[in-house]
């Protein structure tokens, strides 16, 4: 009996524990499931802002818009590796053969796009059903932000790859679905898709930023972006017309795939497409330009020097706009990123502003491209150009923008001393051109003060927190002028007034016709790749429109995009181009102890040989430099190659020809291969 009692108790106790079937149902206790989220205005706001900048899997901050990063020259350094700005080391893009097809990785990826798609796929039905709580106007605005972000992400892909898959929803991890989704849409279709998204954003968003500080996107930013994208695609189609780089052009690789073999332009022809995009750009840019006045430049005359210069430029909105901690007061800044020491979100741009610009110098080409204040090019007989035997000298009577933004030794960099800024350079030094460090060297001798902040508290090592401009309204003025001219071959009164406003602010004679008349494009071509399209010099008017863009948007990160859409590098396929800095082998050489200016001694040379040029050539110091003979180009480089693994994954039996993806013109599918033409 006793035995049975024990057995009974044993079984009963086991039963007690195991009978609870839901003992093993242990759902997450602290995590939000997707159905609980994205149905409140504030949740939409949180999701949308994370699309601007986010932390990746390694905790690194990825800014989707180009802004300032921890140890870089931020937005002011993006133009490096163009004819405008140069770092200490040459770039492989201009050494054909050195830029290669990667085995894997690269920009052929869709993570940001998926983030946008997830939001739109989930929110739009709820929104249409009226199931999202909160203020309707605000909800619309946040949805518009996400449309803008998807457009932005697609625009970055358009610039890198041209034809690109259009994916409007999140996909499952199914091989067939994903392979099918890899089909590349022709580039004009991608651009149309971007414009459609921007049109949605424009219809939904508030005219000005919802936060009141322009830290978030607005209708105006969407319009500006639309004008940029449309102008980009229009000029791309126009300049590459007939080549493999546009749909239905000769050897267009899209033809090799069934799904693109019989492609028809939605407007009927490539020319109609160009017209369509130009019209879109003109319309969008005028809306912005008409609404947003330019910030004033209170220093149009070259009167102040020394301390007075610094004090005046500190209070000059046109100067302080680029280096302020709070940029919300500048009408022209449509979107900017704020930094904060307390949040640990800081950068080193202010220190680089006061020193060698993180080794990214302006080129001689950029500096020489600026007009004289009288509106004449420097080579014009009556220009009054004083020569470039010193930095101060070359700035005499020049375009006010060069005078304002090109640094010269002896200028005051700090007006408000602070003991937080032990890395400040209170007085601008003689450019340290022989420094071995790519970070502290003055690569060309010319550096900018665009973005400089006169408060020393910005100059703790890595501890600056000046804002970063993402969109500046003046671009809309420039887009309008260019788009209008491309469409009509002349300038309407609106375009003329925009151009006048820009030149007036710059402190240049507003009579652009005088400049056009005095311009010799073949002279300009020595210093400016933008003098060409497809290897041919452009007309004087178009050239001066491009010059205005170059000078106004100097060091603002748009140069490579412009060169690309203008197809401005073809001439370098045959002719080398020498990147040059200041005129070292003139009187400037006396700034230095002659023993540190070593040349012709191989890898230990610190400067280029005077027999090559009286100007410093950063990439021609040693003969082992692959750019020793100058920069070259390959057609293929206008677009990026797609990494080999993408073809393999989407192919059958590892036969890459079965992949729906086609490689960009001039590139092979083989990993490690360089451009073919």
């Amino acid at each position: 009996m006793k035995t049975y009692k024990f057995i009974f108790i044993f079984v009963a106790v086991i039963g007690l524990f195991s009978s609870c079937q839901d003992f093993l149902d242990r759902p997450p206790l602290s995590q939000i499931t997707p159905d609980q989220y994205l149905n409140q205005e504030s949740q939409l706001a949180s999701y949308a802002i994370n699309l601007y900048a986010y932390k990746d899997g390694n905790g690194n901050i990825v800014s989707v818009f180009p802004t300032h990063g921890a140890w870089s020259f931020g937005t002011f350094g993006i133009d490096v590796n163009t004819d405008n700005m140069a770092s200490k080391d040459y770039n492989n893009m201009y050494v054909p053969g050195q830029l290669k097809v990667a085995q894997s990785g690269g920009d052929w990826e869709f993570s940001n796009i998926r983030q946008c798609n997830y939001f739109l796929e989930k929110v739009i039905p709820l929104w249409k059903a009226g199931k999202i709580g909160g203020d309707a106007g605000n909800i619309n605005n946040y949805i518009g932000e996400v449309y803008t972000m998807r457009a932005w992400n697609y625009f970055t892909k358009l610039q890198k790859f041209g034809d690109f898959p259009i994916i409007k929803m999140t996909l499952t991890d199914n091989m067939d679905v994903l392979t099918n989704a890899s089909k590349r849409a022709p580039c004009n279709e991608v651009a149309r898709f971007i414009i459609a998204d921007l049109d949605s954003a424009i219809s939904l968003m508030k005219t000005t930023s919802i936060d009141g500080k322009n830290n978030r996107l607005s209708k105006n930013t969407a319009l500006l972006l639309k004008s940029r994208v449309a102008l980009y695609e229009a000029s791309w189609l126009k300049n590459f017309k007939g080549t493999a780089f546009v749909p239905n052009g000769t050897d267009w690789p899209g033809k090799s795939k069934d799904y693109n073999a019989n492609y028809l332009f939605p407007s009927g022809s490539i020319d109609a497409e160009i017209t369509y995009f130009l019209t879109q750009s003109i319309d969008a840019s005028a809306q912005v330009a008409d609404a947003i006045p330019l910030v004033t430049n209170t220093m149009t005359a070259e009167q102040q020097t020394g301390l007075a210069f610094s004090q005046a430029s500190d209070v000059n909105p046109y100067c302080s706009m680029f280096g302020s901690v709070d940029m919300s007061g500048f009408s022209e800044v449509l979107l900017w990123r704020q930094y904060s020491k307390g949040s640990g979100l800081t950068h080193n741009v202010p220190n680089y502003e006061e020193s060698g610009n993180d080794g990214i110098g302006l080129t001689r080409g950029m500096v020489d491209g600026f007009l004289m204040a009288n509106g004449l090019p420097i080579y014009a007989p009556e220009s009054g150009y004083m020569g470039d035997d010193s930095i101060a000298q070359l700035k005499i009577n020049r375009d006010g923008r060069l005078w304002l933004f090109l640094k010269q030794p002896g200028q005051i960099n700090v007006l408000y001393p602070s003991n937080i800024g032990d890395h400040a350079t209170p007085v601008e030094l003689i450019p340290d051109i022989t420094n071995g460090s790519a970070e502290t060297v003055y690569s060309t001798g010319y550096t900018i003060r665009k973005g400089l902040n006169y408060n020393q508290n910005q100059c703790a090592n890595g501890g600056g927190y000046t804002g970063a401009i993402v969109f500046r309204a003046v671009e809309a003025y420039l887009n309008y002028i260019e788009a209008y001219y491309l469409l009509n071959g002349n300038l309407d009164s609106k375009a003329q007034s925009y151009w006048t406003l820009i030149r007036q602010r710059a402190g240049v004679d507003a009579d652009f016709n005088k400049t056009i008349a005095a311009t010799d494009v073949s002279q300009e071509a020595k210093n400016d790749w933008g003098a060409y399209s497809g290897g041919q010099l452009v007309d004087q008017t178009l050239y001066n429109i491009r010059r205005e863009r170059r000078c106004e948007l100097m060091a603002e990160g748009l140069r490579y995009m412009d060169l690309q859409r203008w197809r401005a590098m073809d001439q370098m396929i045959t002719t080398h181009y020498h990147i040059e800095g200041f005129k070292l082998w003139g009187p400037i050489k006396n700034w230095y102890d002659i023993s540190i200016l070593k040349f012709g001694i191989g890898d230990a040379s610190t400067v280029s040989d005077p027999s090559l040029s009286t100007y410093l050539r950063p990439y021609e110091r040693t003969t082992t430099s692959l750019a020793y003979n100058g920069y070259k180009w390959a057609m293929a480089h206008y677009l990026q190659p797609i990494a080999t693994s993408n073809f393999l994954i989407t192919s059958k039996n590892n036969d890459v020809t079965t992949s729906p993806i086609y490689q960009n013109p001039g590139w092979l599918v083989t990993a490690n291969s360089g451009a073919q033409n």
């Binding site: 995590q31 989220y37 949740q43 802002i49 053969g97 936060d211 020491k341």
Partner: protein, 1079 residues
Amino acid sequence: MKIKNKFLFILTISILIMPSLWAIGKSSAIDSLTSQQQQTEGTIKGKVTDKSGETLIGVSIKIKGTNSGTITDVNGSFTLSKVTPSTILIFSYIGMNSIEVKVENQTSLIVKLEDNSVKMDEVVVVGFGTQKKVNLTGAVGTVDSKMLQDRPVQNVAQALQGVVPGLNISQSSGGNLGNNPSINIRGIGTIGAGSNGSPLILIDGTEGDINSLNPQDIDNISVLKDASASSIYGSRAAFGVILITTKKGKAGKTTVNYSNSFRLSSPINLPQMMNSYDFARFFNAANENGGGGAIFSDARIQSIQDYQNGKLGNKTIPVSANNPQYWGDGYATGNDNIDWYKAIYKSSAPSMDNAISVSGGNENVTYYLSGDYLNQVGLMKIGGDNSQRYNLTGNISIKLSPAVTIAYNSKFIRQDFDRPSAETNGLNQDLARQGWPTLPLYDPNGYLYSSPSPALALQNGGRTKTQNDATYQQVQLIVNPLKGWTIHADLNYRVYDNFNHWDDQQTYNHDVNGNAYLFNSYSDVHEDAYKENYFNPNIYTDFTKKINDHNFKVLVGYQSELDYTRSVAVTRQGIIVPSLPVLNQTTGTDASNIAQSPTVSGDYQQWSTTGVFGRINYNYAEKYLLEANIRYDGTSRYQQDQRWTVLPSFSAGWNVANELFWESLQKYVSVLKLRVSYGELGNQNTSNWYPTYLTMPVGTSNGSWLVNGLQPNTASAPGLITSTLGWEKVSTWNGGVDVSAFNSRLTLSYDNYVRFTDNMTGPAPELPTTLGTSVPAANNTNMKTAGFELNLAWKDRLSNGLGYSIGFLMADSKSFITNYPNPTGNLSTYKSGQQIGEIWGYQTIGIAQTNDQMDAHLAALANGGQNSLGTNWQAGDIMYADLNKDGKIDGGAGTLSDHGDLKIIGNNSPRYTFGINLGADWKGFDFKAFFQGTMKRDYFQGSYYFWGASSSGEWWSTGLQQHLDYFRNDPNDPMGLNLNSYYPRPLFNGKNQQTQTAYLQDASYIRLKNLQFGYTVPQTLTKKIAIDKIRIFVSGDNLWTLTKLAKMFDPETVDGGASNNGNVYPLSTVYACGLSINF
């Protein structure tokens, strides 16, 4: 010198203790002598034989209570003088039972010794019970408390390294206080993508933390290696079980044990940096070779030399040229000559351990109580780090009635850690890569100067303080309703309470006039708390029955686990008073008085498992042994339809030595057992506790894009999950043999096994990037691991009384991926058929001695030379071999079908890990030496730490002594010509640093892990002061190492540290001395 001094000091103290004990002993010895003189002294003769009458040679005969005695000669005879009738003689012999004989009035003796059947009765703790060792059929390794005794270790796991074949302990992440070694059984069980394969560690039957245990509390450890041994634990035991049993009280006399040790740690393999001049030349060479010019100008090099030669006095750094109020930038202008490792780490640090235990009881109540205090000082010279551990253990067992016993077991463990907040995982990395020797430690006025350098923040940048408490409560009810039937009901409850604090303080540099100015303006206080409640009931019953020679044992039971955690964490900026870093005393504003939202987080987590199990043991006359287990297990990790699994296992053994035909060999070989087992286990240890639930990543005030100056809340799209994710199946075949021979002098145990890990949660297969997110983990990978374990030991006592032992153990395993979806054959992920650990690299021809040699090499490569690896090939660069003869050097498409010139050049899995144990004792002296190592391991350390100058440029490079051996072919080079160099010419470029044969490291090693000398004071002396036993000892850990590995790495940590660059908080050589007293 410093280590020596401290060590001598401690030694002196021990020596001082010794004579005083001896003096006490001596006076009592005199007493005993006087009393003995009153009795008649005589001589006794005799003979010792075994059961069958055969004489035994070398039997030890000892006079009880002394160290004096003798042994039998070749005829088995002995003579012993100076005995009195009250003398008691102890006869002992390996493999035989010791016996005691009182002399009384005898003058000659015939003593028969019986076979050591106690030895044959040795029991081993196995899952939910014990088993006679001779009857084991699974692969079980055991460790007794002696192995752990007196090792100066931070934690138990360190002491287990190399002790059990197949139990792998590695300390690869370095020697930081509180840094726990990682443990695996039989090599990697799972590839660690979304699941982990750590062994289950049970302390008295409930899961616990091995690292915080007091080693003195451990009675024995069993390591269950194969599936049949561990399968009774089901889903949590897929990769083996470590069963730790703590000491229990025994009925009888109350015994008190006190032991202590004093330790001195000094870092091993601390990297040695170049001096400032060599460093400047080295970095200049690296930059100039790439056409980048000099980083250190001639003028700067001059001032570096001047400083070294004392010409600059204390001018470690000049005044800033452009900012004369301040000192210059350390990188751009420093002249100092600092070895940052020497500056940051001490040459020695003391620590101390005190343990006391009391045990005893009567036939109804037994108890064991213990306490332990370990105080350990870390190696940080600047800032300082230390830890304390407190252990309190109580085991009480009460017999309520003849059939019912209740036991209560309680453990409380507290660990405190205190270290600079700046001592992060990245510290060692920063010392190497940004600790340029020229960077000043102090400014010319003598203030710590950060420009930046780590010292200032270590000293003044705030502290991290962690307190981890663990409480284990266990109530066990044991009922014996009938003979042979036992019911166990255990309720285990464990609570972890972890509190962590850190504060970041503002730090100040000093300007040229010695005025302080804010260097780091950021200050904050962080507090976090974590609590884990773990509840684990085990109820099981077993029944033993013997019918003639048929022995049965049946076990059934139930087990479940519920784990529930909660946490809260807050960080707020703006410390008001630096000496009061508490949340209440923070402003919530940054240095510019701008309000900053505090970071606040907190969560709850849970999981549970449940299972029922059964086991049948059968043996026939201990000849034929059979065991079968089955477990039915469920887990909360998977959805309902994937939740449950059945896990069967079987094992069988044949003890040949118990067969009749073996009888004549029995006296030589008493155990010869053949074993075989097979078992299936499931692994549910997914790293995500809710792998099948889709959750939304949401963050509060953590956005990187400020809105109105504040960090916004954020959210992003959920990743993908595999809703059908389920069990990993682990099945193991194990075959083994156990031998015990020559009266148990020689023991051997050998196991051979194959383990299949099927349906492993593998890395996601590659999918087209159009997916836009990581591919979710799936049960997509199969792996096979095969290996063996050998444990060989010889133990004997020589005729002169010297006892000695030699143990050798070895384990090896190889793992292969048998199936993984990688249709493109991508080399960067797993491939079906690959061996785990394989290293793909190029074949090195050598360093080109001249430009001509390089040109000739490139000319032979017509289709592109070495262009895909880099350009500008010259003398001093590496020449790679064109293995596929395609006229160019590259890695092809990076796939199995096209891997260019890459080939498998080695394998980084540790192979043939071994341990050698030597022991001896003689007249109270004992000696122990323990070596441990790996016989074969390749490693390619591609970090800047190995290369010096790296492709990531000057900020991710370093200059250690070893890097000076770089190629120099310019006769005018200030560092001298060095054509026959180890390293190629330095470059901030990776072209010479491809994974390749010439720089593949041989990471095999042998290390003297522990060396110990002890002396036990004779009992006759100690008895007089009521002490049963006093043992004093000196011991050393990590005393000697032999390896061919590059000198900046330690073989145990070569793959540890940030980004696996082998750069870690150093391991230590530990010298210790101490004593142990039993009352």
